[in-house]
């Protein structure tokens, strides 16, 4: 779809028609507009009257002039055709899928009972509720939505899919991406996702989210420096580049995507330096961290005065075969109303690309203290604590044939997330203890450039003292791009 001024024509026509209907005006007096003259492809202005007599033989000079004229007209036509460019481009995709999960579709269980019988007795008297596993591990789409969040006590969450373990078809996302140029050096991008979901109590469950609303300005002549403002992609790690269903080789995000693929609001600069852009630098100042919105963190609109600084430095081999990067972020805790305590992440990433083979890996480590003793917190602005001891994945994508590819990925996440202070009187509210690994195998079929059919099997496993949870996932996705 390439809307140009058609939109304005349509809007103008609609407004005019509405006014006409509203005022009951009848446009009967207006005489019909004179028909535009038909374009004469031959450029013949003789009105079709061709003298019926034999023309003299053309000379070489005549022919040369005619050729020159034709070449000039041909060029003009080609350039005119090339200049028929839209002001705004609209693209997007429909992501339709099917999933089936083990168990009830949720990735967590509660650690309950007498302290002696618990997997983690040390938390029995520290938190009101202790949960084991990973809330987001049974992901069923590229958004990372879990099949079910489970019926956890003490909280009323927006469980967008809440399958209860039933296999289901689902429209994961309908995306519309609009791009427009503002002059030669600026590009405005907006991306909106529509999410058809089940309603409750006669209300629609459908939602939408704006995941990109940014202006990219490339002021330098080389355009190797870009300045962004708005809601934009993260600079932490590399997975944000393929967070969307259309761009992702497989379907589901890694176990650490929740920390790196969010879209914070703020400012960003990205530059490429050296021959063949061998050095890449990206720096951002944003409202909050680069965590995803559907997790315990993330501030769309900031709740504190401090801002989060994040950045990534990367080295790239001239051939593009290898890229190694280091990234991190530092800023006030998300959801906190003051800027006193920091939430930070640090990590490294690696990419290897050769022909149809890609290897991608990332490691992440992070901390957030959560609620401190002796302070009061608004019930709507309680910061979660985080101890991400290790989060990593390694993924291999291989297009065996132009239309057929395979995926293999290994994930690890060792983290503790909690709400409330365990040392406060009465202890903390809740804690999630995760020691998860995941093995994913997938296949990708690309019949043509507008269609991708993908399937994945996710085996979610637990280690350490976390008992095994049956939450494997089989998921498919049909991505129709336009």
């Amino acid at each position: 779809m390439r809307p140009d001024d058609l939109f304005w024509q349509r809007a103008g026509a609609a407004t005019a028609l509405a006014l006409l209907l509203g005022t009951c005006a009848i446009a009967r007096a207006a005489p019909p507009a004179p028909a535009e003259p038909e374009f004469d492809a031959d450029g013949d202005d003789t009105g079709g009257a061709v003298p019926d007599e034999e023309e003299p033989e053309p000379t070489v000079r005549d022919l040369s002039e005619r050729i020159a004229d034709l070449e000039r007209r041909l060029n003009d036509t080609e350039v005119a055709a090339a200049r028929r460019r839209p002001v705004v481009t609209v693209s997007g995709y429909i992501d339709f899928g099917f999933f089936a999960t083990q168990g009830d579709g949720s990735g967590v269980i509660q650690d309950v009972g007498p302290a002696q019988s618990r997997a983690f007795p040390e938390y029995a008297n520290k938190f009101a509720w202790v949960f084991l596993g990973d809330l987001l591990s049974p992901a069923v789409n590229s958004r990372g939505e879990p099949a079910d969040l489970g019926n956890l006590p003490g909280v009323n969450r927006a469980d967008s899919i809440r399958s209860g373990g039933a296999p289901s078809f689902i429209v994961n996302e309908v995306n519309l991406t609009m791009q427009g140029t503002l002059g030669e050096t600026a590009l405005a991008t907006a991306s909106v996702n529509y999410l058809p979901r089940s309603g409750t109590d006669f209300s629609l469950g459908d939602t939408f989210d704006v995941d990109l609303a940014q202006l990219e300005w490339m002021p330098t002549e080389s355009r190797r420096w870009s300045f962004f403002v708005g809601k934009m992609e993260s600079v932490v790690g590399i997975e944000y580049r393929e967070r969307k269903a259309r761009d992702r080789f497989g379907i589901t995000p890694s176990l650490i995507a929740r920390y790196t693929t969010g879209n914070p609001l703020g400012l960003k600069v990205r530059g490429k330096l050296g021959t063949n852009d061998w050095f890449i630098v990206a720096l951002a100042l944003t409202n909050g961290s680069s965590t995803t919105e559907t997790f315990h963190f993330y501030d769309e609109v900031d709740s504190n005065a401090g801002k989060t600084a994040s950045g990534r430095l990367a080295l790239r081999a001239p051939s593009g075969l290898l890229e190694v990067g280091a990234s991190g972020s530092y800023g006030p805790q998300d959801h906190a109303q003051d800027s006193r305590d920091a939430m930070w992440f640090v990590g490294g990433d690696l990419q290897v690309h050769h022909r149809g083979f890609d290897l991608k890996g990332q490691y992440l480590y992070g901390r957030a203290p959560g609620e401190e003793l002796g302070r009061t917190y608004s019930s709507e602005h309680r910061p979660y604590g985080l101890r991400l001891r290790a989060g990593a994945y390694l993924e291999a994508n291989w297009m065996v044939l132009p239309y057929l590819g395979f995926l293999a990925r290994g994930d690890l996440r060792d983290a503790v997330v909690w709400l409330g202070n365990p040392d406060a009187p009465g202890g903390g509210d809740r804690i999630y203890i995760t020691k998860s690994w995941r093995a994913t195998g997938g296949v990708r079929l690309v019949p043509n450039e507008h269609v991708a059919v993908k399937a994945e099997y996710l085996h979610n496993g637990e280690y350490g003292r976390v008992p095994s949870i049956r939450n494997d996932v089989f998921v498919t996705s049909l991505v129709l791009s336009y």
Binding site: R2, L6, Q9, R10, A11, A13, A14, L17, A18, L21, G22, T23, C24, F39, A41, E57, P58, T59, V60, R61, L63, S64, I67, L70, E71, R73, L74, N75, T77, E78, V79, A80, A81, A82, R83, R84, R85, P86, T89, G180, T181, E184, A186, L187, E216, M218, E221, S222, R223, S226, R270, K272, D277, G320, R355, G356, M399, L401, P402, E449
Partner: protein, 307 residues
């Protein structure tokens, strides 16, 4: 009173009319879109027609040159005024009057167009930051458009291979894609504006016939770093500059000739020289030129992440 009812009804209808207006307007918009499509179709048809005419004219012109060449050969062999034989393929395309009826006939007037009688060699030197891809060609000698000649520029590992090519006018350039990912070759023009659309490895390669002289810049709409340059020369009088910067072009018709030195990494330089029977010389100095960023086929910047 009825007037009031009408006014109130009209005002009440306005909010209803607004949402349905786009629906009512849709056919008109669709008609506009259809008109736009038909306009594009008409332009394409016109383009094809012009190409066909151009090709036909070129063929006729080629036949003219062949005929003139034969006449010149006849002059040099003492066969002045000898008409083409009946079986001569050029005879059917004779558009200028035959020059006499027999061997005894006096020599006719020379043709109106100045035909070079002699050729010579042009030599020279090009100073350039690097001599790996520097070419020199003669611009103002009208050569025949080559037919049936083809050159391949592959898309491999997200690059055009080769990234520089020199072809004579009329050459067909084919762009096979050997990558698993889609590429979309396009050129914003001039001299050739085209968009070959998206295809990948295994699909039939698409091609463009380079009919107009000039530098054709090639890009991929999906990968901003893919770039190649095709120099379309008007004749066969071109050469690649040696490692020491020297060049030599043989068979250049004597007379005033415009030579062009070109490199994809430099701004082209022109020089007009007089080529005498003993030849001619030219020297150029090419300055380095930074590669300018380009837009995608919609005329928009690619953005930082589109590489």
């Amino acid at each position: 009173m009825p007037t009031k009812i009408w006014v109130v009804s009209a005002l009440a209808a306005l909010p209803l009319a607004l949402p349905i207006a786009p629906l009512v307007a849709a056919p008109r918009a669709a008609a506009t879109a259809a008109a736009s499509s038909s306009e594009v179709a008409r332009l394409e048809a016109e383009l094809k027609e012009q190409r066909d005419i151009l090709l036909q004219s070129m063929q006729v012109e080629q036949q003219h040159y062949d005929l003139l060449l034969k006449l010149i050969q006849n002059v040099s062999q003492g066969g002045v005024g000898k008409a083409p034989a009946a079986g001569d393929p050029g005879a059917g395309a004779l558009l200028i009057p035959p020059m006499g009826g027999g061997a005894a006939t006096p020599a006719p007037e020379p043709p109106a167009r100045k035909v070079p009688e002699k050729t010579a060699t042009v030599t020279g030197k090009v100073q350039a930051p690097a001599h790996d891809d520097v070419y020199v060609y003669v611009q103002n000698v009208h050569g025949a458009s080559v037919r049936g000649r083809s050159v391949e520029i592959a898309q491999r590992d997200k690059q055009f291979v080769p990234s520089v090519a020199v072809v004579q006018r009329g050459t067909k350039v084919t762009f096979p894609n050997f990558d698993a990912v889609y590429h979309n070759v396009f050129s914003p023009g001039p001299p050739h504006a085209f968009d070959l659309g998206s295809y990948r490895a295994g699909e039939a390669p698409r091609a463009v016939e380079m009919t107009s002289p000039g530098v054709v810049e090639l890009y991929c709409n999906m990968h901003s770093k893919m770039h190649a340059s095709v120099l379309v020369v008007p004749n066969s009088l071109w050469t690649r500059v040696g490692a020491d910067g020297s060049f030599r072009i043989d068979n250049v018709p004597v007379g005033t000739r415009k030579l062009v030195a070109w490199s994809p990494k430099s701004k082209a330089a022109e020089q007009t020289i007089e080529v005498g029977p003993s030849g001619g010389t030219a020297s150029f100095s090419l300055g380095a030129e930074a590669e300018h960023p380009h837009n995608n086929k919609y005329g928009m910047p690619y953005g930082s992440y589109k590489e």
